[in-house]
Amino acid sequence: MSFDSSKNYSDLEVYELVEKCQLDDKQALEELLRRHEKIIYSTLYHLDPKREDIADLVQEVLVKVAKNVKKIRNPKTFKYWLNQIIMNLFYDELRKKTRKIQTISMDTAFVNKLEDEIPQGFDVEDMAKKPHEEILGGELDEIIKKGIDELPEQFRIVTVLRELQGLSYEEIAQLTGTNIGTVKSRLARARAKLQEIIKPYLS
C-alpha cells in the first residue's frame, strides 16, 4: 500500500499540492512555493521593468501564498488566485510610486504612460537597421524585452498576463478592472506593436 504522503511531490499537479497545503502539509507548501518562485519573478520583472528590488516583491508574494493558501475555495483556480496577489501587490507599489513622483514633480510623462495610447516616442527605427544580418537568439530576446518594456503600462500588463501567465481574457479583465472587449483590443494592439519590432528579425 502506497501511502499518500510518500508520493513524489514534484510529480503532483498544482491543485493537488494546494489540496495538501490546505491539510497543513509543509512539504507540499514548499514544493508549491518553489514551483512558482521563478514565474512570479518573471511576471513582476516584466510588469515593472524599472524596478530593482524584484526579489523582495517575490518574497512578499510567496509569504502571502503561504499565509492564505488555505483560503482558496477551489484549488483548480490557483493560477488566477496567485495572479490576484501579484496584481494587487503591483498596483499597491504603483500607487506608492505615483504618489512619490507626484510629490517630487508633476511628471506628466509618467501620467501619459498610463493612458490608453501607444506613445509617439515609440521608436523602432534603430532596431530595424539590420534586418538581414543574422542575429543570435540572445539578441532577439533583448529586442523583445525592450519592446515589452516600452509598451504603455496597460498594454504591457495584458501582454504579460496573456503570453507569460496564459490567463483567459475574462480573468485578465477581472484582474485589471476592465472588460473583455478592452482586453481584446489592448492585446491585439500590443501584439501588432511587438510584431513590428520582431518582424525584421524573422528569417
Binding site: L29, L164, A188
Partner: protein
C-alpha cells in the same frame, strides 16, 4: 546558399505560390528549389491539399471570380474586420459564430492568411521569450524561512487513525452521516476495502474538501 534558410523562405511563400500571388522571379525561384527539396515538396502537397479541401467543402473557388473595384473595396472592408479578430481568434476567445466566420475567410483569403501567419509567428516568439525568461529567473528566496515563519505543522506521516483520534478529541463531534456517501465510497473501493468506520470517514472528509481525494487518503490508493 544555405539550404535551411532557403527552406524557411520557401515555406513562407508557399501559400502565396499556390494562390499564384508571386512575381515570376519568385515563382521560378520556388520551382527551382522544389525540384531539389523533398521536404518543401511535401509541404507544398500538404498545403495545397488542405486548401483545395477547404475550398471544396465551402463550395467556393477564388480562381473564377472576376474582380472589379467594387468587389475589391468590399473585400478590404471584410479583411479589416477579420484582421481585428485574428488576435482573439488565435487565443480561442471568439464566439462560435465568429470562429466560423474567421475560419471561412482564412480559407479563401491569402492576405489574411499571411497576416495570421505573422501574428502566430510573433506570439510564438513572445512565448519562447517568456519561457526562457522564467527558466532564467533567479530562485534565491529563502523558502525554508518563509515556512518556518508560518509555523506549519507537520502532518506528513500521520496515520489515518491518528488523524481521526486527534480530530475527535480536539474539535469534532459527529451528528449525522450521509449514507449515500458511504455507499459511494464502498462502490469505488471494491476489493481492497480496508475497514473504515463512518466516523473516520466523515472526519477525514472534513479535512479533505474533495471526496475523490478523500478515498485515496483513506484507502491508500492512487
Amino acid at each position: 546558399m544555405d539550404n535551411q534558410i532557403n527552406c524557411q523562405d520557401i515555406e513562407k511563400n508557399l501559400s502565396a505560390y499556390i494562390d499564384d500571388e508571386l512575381n515570376d522571379n519568385d515563382k521560378l525561384f520556388i520551382e527551382e528549389h522544389l525540384k531539389n527539396c523533398p521536404n518543401c515538396q511535401q509541404q507544398l502537397n500538404q498545403l495545397s491539399q488542405t486548401i483545395s479541401l477547404c475550398k471544396n467543402t465551402l463550395g467556393k473557388t477564388t480562381s473564377n471570380l472576376s474582380i472589379n473595384y467594387k468587389e475589391l473595396i468590399e473585400k478590404s472592408k471584410i479583411c479589416a474586420n477579420i484582421e481585428e479578430k485574428l488576435s482573439p481568434f488565435l487565443d480561442g476567445e471568439l464566439s462560435r459564430q465568429e470562429i466560423i466566420e474567421v475560419t471561412e475567410h482564412l480559407m479563401v483569403c491569402p492576405h489574411c492568411r499571411k497576416e495570421f501567419y505573422h501574428l502566430k509567428q510573433t506570439c510564438n516568439c513572445l512565448k519562447n521569450y517568456f519561457e526562457k525568461s522564467i527558466q532564467n529567473a533567479p530562485a534565491k528566496t529563502e523558502i525554508k524561512n518563509i515556512l518556518s515563519k508560518e509555523k506549519y505543522k507537520e502532518y506528513a506521516f500521520v496515520s489515518i487513525a491518528a488523524v481521526c483520534i486527534f480530530s475527535l478529541l480536539s474539535w469534532f463531534s459527529i451528528k449525522t452521516i450521509e449514507p449515500q456517501f458511504i455507499e459511494k465510497a464502498k462502490e469505488n473501493v471494491k476489493s481492497d476495502l480496508i475497514y473504515v468506520n463512518s466516523e473516520a470517514f466523515v472526519l477525514a472528509n472534513s479535512y479533505h474538501k474533495s471526496s475523490d481525494n478523500l478515498l485515496a487518503v483513506i484507502y491508500g490508493q492512487n
